[in-house]
Symmetry: C2
Subunit: 425 residues, 2 copies
């Protein structure tokens, strides 16, 4: 049996707003499965070598619940454009390029490396329409040691001339993709209708049936901006609200991720809560393309499941440290908009959303829960300016959420395996 | 005569919203003074060695018009606290530590290095009350090659027990500081009443007289949050508006920087415009401590001078790339708040605010203006993911505003001198 013992200042978020901190503690895993966090080394491990990280912080690694992997190639561009121009000039042409397997390989290898080097070990990603590129994405994530879901995008209407499938093609390619991706041990398929305007009713019905028959999870977009909501209303006069266009086809349950939900009203939020849908809150993108400011505090108060997504490339950063900080910032914007009546997210709350809340979607428990596979990272903040007095671990942790430090992440574990070591770069 | 010839993709912002781009162009300076940007090397320089930066971008360096230098030591902490608790638990105790000259030296050396390594070459900084630490700050900035202003803070009321001066002491120390800082060639003094609640009328009158007699610039805070505005109203019942508390003492003219101005109404904005006051817009801090969202678009439309400040440590980043991106984000928040009626800042506009608009306060012209001292940086974006097609220089420039790349800045020039070279780190 392989025992991993990490020593350092261990911080985890067992519940929203609470941090567990163990100074110079021991995080122990056996065969990659967490045994627990201990302030003293239990005697039965006395003979096991300890990986001593000195004064470093040992943190949960991140879960990114929404990102468009091909759009990583255009991150940070076109942000002055209105949404539709941005889609037509950047997003669609970029995704169309992923018919080229070599290009896909280059981009996805780069992406997988950047994810893991920045402490993201669980993901749920949109690929493009292309089966082959989707398999390459899954393979590169697998090689980098990341776990989670990837979805071949389904889109049989309202795409671009070079980025759309027929209904038949979409169904056939989806089935073939599901066949061909069975052997990846850590990266699993997730059904991915792009969003309601991209999928005919026939395709939606097919996907809903597939989800049910094969017990597959689902990801899509919901109520991101006003114009989109209006469009969905025109396309589905039979549905009172956007979410019903998913629910009527069996794409709405506790294995569903809905990205954005910026303008979901009380009724739509209740439907998410009742079904156990997870909201992927994408604060950076909601601002960047002027969608709006999602009422995350209200969602949390109402008991919805909320986690974070980088939403590259509507979002401009793949780093989940940024996603956490941006979620806090968005909550402060919301406070300002609500005339200072709504509470903002604290650092501990933002951190919980980026770690435990996201990990929950993959079946993990809270914080460094006993029985979970080890997902962790070591953070070295020693290069920061000397402070006026010795800082508490909590203060150092908070500073790391806000202050970007190149090369601060020293090592990362995913699903019990050490997948990144700064020395190896 | 020393001639500098930089070759690369040269981008500058000559006016708000406009970019001048010269691909594989030549930026030429003689004895550190800009001659111009040329698409072909003028024949008279044919024998001069060219510093060829290949495909890199050559950009204006930044001007940071508002920052609290001692608070650099607490950057990124206490951001969950209400403003007054944050001041009492973090800001004031941190500043009080700057009675210790050795500590001040350590922090300010770190600060000066980080500024220059991240492309900030012009600054207007608040120091603390302490004359000695202020001189150390000026010395360290000078050594690092930065130019601009530093102010010893004046505060003879409403401080902390260990962070306040008597009126007499404040006056005496200010005069002595002005005496002692005369020999710095590039770092000059700026009068710095912390803000109206921190200074008695007697002290304000003294500073106003000093500003006039010695033709000194002035920096302070204005209309940052509602509670502060209310407080000023109580302290100065003779003034209709906050700005008048500065104007009545002669601290309100075209050599004045006012930080924040989040809640300045049309009358206060007109007073700024009429006097030629420069607004230091601090988007990160305005969000972080929930002050509000400054109406920068309105200010620009009205013809006010607006530049950017990092406002460390109400702001959490010293990097002006972040300040530019945050100004754009804040303008998008403002657009959302205004029900999508207000235009956001484009990338070109945000960049102008962080470069030319700030440089103007120091007497510089627009973009790489002929006759200005050379302030520039070289940016290498070659480590970013390969895009789907060759990008234009403008696209690469935009991407650099949004996507943080460690080690991307290869070299920096300030006041005609090369002050940073990545190889030397």
């Amino acid at each position: 049996m392989a025992v991993t013992i990490l020593k350092g200042n261990i911080v985890s978020a067992p519940e929203c707003g609470k941090l567990d901190i163990t100074e110079y503690g021991y995080l122990i895993a056996e065969d990659g499965i967490i045994i627990g966090v201990f302030s003293q080394l239990p005697e039965r491990y006395a003979a096991v070598p300890v990986e001593d990280w000195g004064d470093c912080l040992i943190l949960q690694s991140f879960a990114d619940l929404h990102m468009h992997a091909p759009q990583y190639a255009m991150m940070g561009m076109g942000m002055d454009l209105p949404l539709l121009d941005w889609l037509n000039e950047y997003a669609f042409p970029t995704e169309a390029r992923f018919t080229d397997a070599d290009y896909a390989r280059t981009v996805y290898r780069h992406l997988a490396h950047e994810l893991v080097a920045n402490g993201t070990t669980r993901v749920s990603l949109f690929s493009s329409l292309h089966r082959e590129a989707t398999l390459i994405l899954m393979e590169e994530l697998e090689k980098a040691g990341i776990v989670g879901y990837v979805g071949k995008v389904n889109m049989d209407r309202n795409g671009a001339s070079n980025l759309q499938e027929t209904t038949e093609e979409s169904q056939r390619e989806t089935l073939r993709w599901l066949e061909e991706c069975q052997d990846f041990p850590h990266i699993k398929p997730i059904l991915t209708p792009r969003f309601t305007p991209s999928c005919t009713n026939e395709l939606m019905a097919f996907l809903g049936k597939l989800a049910q028959e094969r017990h597959l999870p689902v990801q899509s977009h919901l109520s991101e901006n006003h114009r989109e909501i209006e469009w969905v209303r025109e396309l589905h006069p039979e549905c009172k609200q956007y979410w019903e266009t998913y629910a009527e086809y069996g794409l709405w349950n506790d294995r569903t991720i809905m990205a954005h939900c910026v303008h979901s009203d009380a009724r739509e939020r209740k439907a998410m809560k009742d079904a156990g849908v997870t909201v992927a809150h994408c604060a950076n993108s909601n601002n960047a393309i002027c969608s709006g400011t999602a009422p995350v505090r209200v969602m949390l108060n109402e008991g919805l499941k909320v986690a974070l997504g980088s939403d590259v490339a509507g979002g401009c950063s793949i780093h989940m440290f940024d996603a956490v900080a941006d979620a806090i910032k968005a909550s402060k914007d919301r406070r300002i908009m609500d005339n200072w009546r709504t509470d903002f997210l604290t650092v501990a709350e933002g951190w919980y959303l980026g770690t435990t809340a996201g990990a929950n979607f993959f079946g993990a428990g809270a914080g460094f829960a006993k029985g979970d596979a080890l997902h962790a990272m070591v953070l070295d903040d020693s290069a920061l300016v000397p402070s006026t007095r010795p800082l508490t671990v909590q203060e150092r942790f908070e500073r790391c959420v806000y202050v970007r430090q190149p090369d601060a992440i020293r090592a990362v574990w995913s699903e019990g395996r050490k997948v990144y070591n700064a020395k190896n770069r």
